[in-house]
């Protein structure tokens, strides 16, 4: 079991080293949680490589993290892609860091159609724009909402948007 696991691990590492160079990406690992951190401009080809040659055919989730108040952070946002190899059951987390003002990433929709709504959610909550997305608009908040709620500088209770409606009194009916 362990031998085949290390063999699988070496598989995608070799691919990434061949494409990005041995210093082009960072890895970390805790028990069975394996992560690869790539730079922003290499994300598209990394995901394509992992899908087509690495066997990671399923995208589980795309999410983001805001490191604004994190003690030792160098970059503001991290965008995390969770991948799964359905034949071997291996999971991998691919992470990039983005900073303002270039909050752009290439969209994963050409690779996985399921990335559509996931990227819309990341855009809605954090404001990260995915280039090449067919229909990038808000998905959870209403279209007229102007802020990005899950950023750390947005207060939990909002800035008054939730109560910005006309009141209907009894007499108006």
């Amino acid at each position: 079991m362990l031998d085949s696991e290390t063999a699988m691990t070496a598989n995608y590492l070799e691919l990434l080293k061949a494409r990005l160079g041995p210093d082009g990406f960072a890895t970390s690992r805790f028990r069975d949680n394996e992560r690869v951190v790539v730079p922003q401009e290499k994300l598209g080809e990394t995901l394509r490589l992992l899908k087509e040659d690495g066997g990671f055919d399923m995208l589980i989730d795309i999410t983001a993290a805001d490191y604004l108040d994190y003690p030792d952070a160098r970059d503001r946002f991290g965008v995390i892609y969770a991948l799964l190899n359905t034949t071997t059951g291996q999971r991998l987390y691919v992470k990039t860091h983005v900073n303002e003002p270039e909050l752009n990433l290439s969209s994963a929709v050409p690779l996985w159609r399921g990335a559509d709504w996931m990227e819309r959610e990341v855009f809605d909550m954090y404001g990260i724009v995915f280039e090449g997305h067919p229909d990038l608009r808000r998905i959870l908040m209403p279209e007229e909402f102007t802020a990005y709620p899950l950023r750390k500088d947005y207060p939990l209770r909002g800035r008054g948007e939730r109560h910005n409606f006309p009141t209907i009194t009894r007499a108006e009916g």
């Binding site: 108040d69 959870l140 908040m141 209403p142 709620p149 750390k152 500088d153 947005y154 207060p155 939990l156 209770r157 909002g158 800035r159 948007e161 939730r162 109560h163 910005n164 409606f165 006309p166 009141t167 209907i168 009194t169 009894r170 007499a171 009916g173």
Partner: protein
């Protein structure tokens, strides 16, 4: 009139009749958005049967209802829809705010959840609970029936006088400014970490 009968005795008897008719056939419009909707369905099911009280048909068209039961939390994206449904209901109409979330926002004091639908819709009865048991909802319908019998009129005159908004008023302006305690972490600073 020639007889010594008060002029509006006819009207009070008509009012009484209209109230009796309306109270005993409240057709609910189930505006179930979340978990309270399940308890609303349970109230309409056979064990706790709300049809005993006249709420026979839960019509999903607002044009055919006279009681809107807002069951569940209402988010800001849903609020205009709620107002539109309320306006589509014909008079006389009443509203029951079911559960903690519809009455006050419940546990969800966040950027997306409206803290009580009574800020934007006139509410007649509030049912506390998370979720309220079917018996509590039935009690609120009984109380609403009582309210209709006591304050209802044939032509709906009692609604015309209520022109003030019934939303909760902010308490802070009423306090003496010296007595206002500035607690740490109000909504603008609540998400900042401590240095």
């Amino acid at each position: 009139m020639a007889l010594g009968v008060p002029k509006d005795i006819m009207l009070t008897r008509l009012d009484y009749l209209a109230n009796w008719v309306r109270a005993n056939s409240l057709w609910p419009m189930p505006f179930a958005t979340a978990c309270c909707g399940i308890e609303l369905m349970a109230t309409g099911a056979s064990r706790h049967d709300v049809a005993r009280f006249g709420a026979e048909v839960m019509r999903f068209s607002p044009r055919q209802c006279d009681l809107m039961i807002v069951a569940g939390r209402v988010v800001m994206k849903m609020m205009p829809v709620l107002q539109r449904i309320w306006l589509q209901m014909p008079e006389p109409k009443w509203c029951i705010s079911m559960g903690a979330c519809a009455s006050s926002g419940g546990v969800f004091d966040t950027y997306a959840v409206v803290q009580g639908v009574d800020r934007f819709i006139p509410v007649d009865a509030y049912v506390p609970g998370c979720p309220p048991r079917p018996e509590q909802l039935i009690q609120s319908i009984i109380d609403l029936q009582e309210k209709i019998r006591q304050t209802g009129t044939l032509t709906g005159r009692e609604f015309e006088r209520r022109t003030a908004s019934e939303a909760p008023v902010n308490l802070v302006p009423k306090l003496n400014p010296d007595n206002v305690v500035v607690a740490p972490g109000d909504f603008t600073t609540a998400t900042k970490t401590q240095p």
